[in-house]
Symmetry: C2
Subunit: 430 residues, 2 copies
């Protein structure tokens, strides 16, 4: 029996969940089970929550999924506000969310999020160790080795569905000088915290050194391990550089160890990448990481548009999804500027869903184009309720039309009676 088969209980969800997921993905439960055992697809949904929530599956040939981040920060901490963002994200169609809280009582925030979220919830345990160190009036260098591992266990015990662990930033990588040769260094928050600690203590990355403990925890609780990319490029100039590619090779090895241990695993990817390198990055990372489901942040195709990074990331995300990325993390217009508000969250989810769907269309995913075809038919018929019902955001276009001067007109106020749909219709020609 292969290692994967011996770990089927860890990798494959209960039969009822498997059947629902297979139906949603237009495949069979047998085919989906094979993907899960091969590690080319991964379920998001811990043992504690998989039967209670809308668990989802990310991977090869499946619909591209969308994640929305939210969470408190030291400069902006408001539990009610963050729970509202959670609701907004789910209502806008996020398939999963990540609670990235670093301000206030983050354990309590996480508990409230888990109690409320109907979709898989992800977290980044190193933030907890850093916040604890700050509470003891220390910087990241005051994190303790045990607190880093304990955070993973604590999150797992609380029921978190997926965790980002930055296990692939290593001591040899840091001493190579590759980071110093970058324009923006390390922009992954978790990666930066660990690099700071490793340099101060002249020590190896605890998550790398004690990776087997991390794997044991994840397998035990059915947590999906999301291997964070500490060397994610933070600007176009750093995309695909030595620092990033060194880490990709390490990630490949960690993926293999996770699979051998029967742990559900996905890998995180860039970041800021010029459009002509997006397909190459996705292909290269998936290849080096043995076809693991790839979870990308963007990619953002230019650095110059703060205030509009929901757009720069939707551009890169579409090409990434077309090229094989399986899971898109949204980027809001607040990225690089401030914590997103609820409006930013809503708009960010929609922009990311546009990228995911347009990527699925371009990749030829079965069933994807039918949606566009139904919309085209409704548009040709000037069937406004039909167009709104089919819209990726049914609310906004309906409000826009209601507040225009269209009144009872069959057309919209753009063209009025010169509407091409009307001009070419048989009534006008008759």
């Amino acid at each position: 029996m292969s290692p994967a088969r011996s770990h089927a209980d860890s990798l494959v969800p209960p039969e009822a969940v498997l059947q629902r997921l297979a139906a949603e993905e237009h495949t069979t439960s047998d085919a989906l089970r094979e993907l899960l055992l091969d590690g080319r697809a991964t379920v998001l949904g811990s043992h504690a929550r998989v039967g209670q929530i809308r668990a989802c599956v990310v991977g090869a040939g499946l619909r591209t999924k969308v994640n929305a981040n939210f969470g408190t920060s030291a400069l902006s901490s408001d539990l009610v506000g963050e729970l509202h963002k959670l609701d907004v994200a789910i209502e806008a169609g996020a398939d999963a969310v990540m609670d990235l809280s670093t301000g206030g009582d983050i354990r309590a925030v996480r508990g409230a999020v888990l109690a409320r979220a109907s979709v898989p919830v992800g977290t980044v345990p190193v933030y907890e160790a850093a916040v604890q160190a700050a509470g003891r009036s220390g910087g990241p260098t005051a994190m303790t080795l045990d607190s880093l591992i304990a955070a993973v266990r604590n999150h797992a015990e609380q029921g978190v569905d997926f965790q980002t662990v930055h296990a692939s930033i290593t001591r040899s990588q840091l001493s190579s000088g590759a980071v110093e040769r970058r324009r923006t260094g390390i922009v992954s928050r978790g990666g930066a915290l660990l690099a700071c600690w490793m340099r101060a203590h002249d020590a190896e990355n605890p998550y790398y050194e004690r990776f087997d403990e991390v794997l044991d925890i994840c397998r035990g609780y059915g947590v999906t391990l999301s291997l964070g990319d500490s060397m994610r490029p933070g600007c176009l100039a750093d995309a695909g550089d030595e620092a990033q590619m060194t880490e990709v090779a390490v990630l490949g090895g960690l993926v293999q160890r996770a699979r051998d241990a029967g742990v559900r695993v996905i890998v995180e990817g860039p970041g800021h990448v010029p459009l002509h390198e997006v397909a190459a990055q996705v292909t290269a990372i998936k290849r080096a990481c043995h076809g693991v489901p790839l979870y990308v942040l963007g990619p953002l195709v230019t650095d110059v548009a703060p205030g509009y990074d929901h757009i720069t990331s939707a551009i890169g995300g579409t090409l990434a999804a077309m090229s094989g990325a399986d899971f898109l993390c949204y980027v809001t217009r607040a990225e690089h500027v401030r914590l997103p508000n609820a409006d930013d969250v809503r708009e960010g989810v929609i922009a990311c869903r546009i990228a995911a769907h347009a990527g699925d269309v371009a990749a030829g995913l079965p069933g994807a184009r039918e949606w566009d075809e139904a919309m085209a038919t409704a548009r040709k018929a000037l069937d406004w309720p039909g167009q709104f019902a089919l819209a990726i955001d049914p609310t906004l276009p309906a409000e826009m039309r209601a507040h225009s001067d269209a009144g009872d007109a069959a057309e919209c106020t753009m063209c009025g009676p010169l509407c091409s749909m009307r001009v070419t219709s048989s009534e006008v020609l008759a």
Copy 2:
């Protein structure tokens, strides 16, 4: 002497303008002159206006330019409001604008726009013939043959810099059944008007039949002829179909005739196109049209996102610009829903500029990446005034930060003291 050289006076702007344009494009006036004579680049700026306005040039190896549409419609006609949109578009960075007015006294609107616009102004003369027919209580079938040609002359006399003429929709094309086999038929407003007229009168397209008259007018006034694509796909299902490709072949022939006549010419392109077909469309159209500057509307990579088509078009526009499109027409979030308002115009221009720049970066345009590199340096330094000054929209991110809880903090409210830029800086490590 080649036909192009004999028409150098029509194709090449006055020396002072040529030198300014060459400097802006990081090239020499000799090299730019060759591009203009070859027809691979085209100046937008009529004889009457080229020395008075910020004329621009579109074409191979040059910065991708951005156009913004505005204009009255029968359901929404407000001169002051449309002139405000003009100002907003130019302030947001549009390289050119098109006045697509179809409501109210459109000749007066056009005159006001030409008096005010500091960038090239384009129009679509067939709309004038249709509006005149409507004024005589007729539908598009009541347009007269002479009014169609007169509209081109009237616009040229007023000083319009570029005109869209739908000369490539032909009688044989309409009788082929290809339009009926489409899901959304003809979505080009000008194309739909002409098709309606041609069918009702069982006659050839006047702009096709009397193309030499159109060319004479354009050459005489230094108008750039923008050959409209009447068969632009209006949904993914129609992209690249028989109707579109038949027209592309006709467009290639018309480009050749325009060049032989010494007329500045560009060609319009799609439209709704799935992402995996965008590069192929751009390559195919430019090849069939002898390397003519290509002016695309989008392309929109999915049909399902009314209310967000500034995003769906930025996605396709970036890949189009990377693949050789030279001039992007913006699409606002109001597309398919209502006439855009000033906010939609502003946001649409920014989204389109993002696409143009990200496409130029991906295409390796000399000088394009320096902008991103400067932003990355400012971002790493947490230099907020520097980031805002470099931003494609300097206003919005500054306002977003000012209205956040950042106060005097060095970081933003997303990460606060856990900011990766700070954590990895030497002060923290020290």
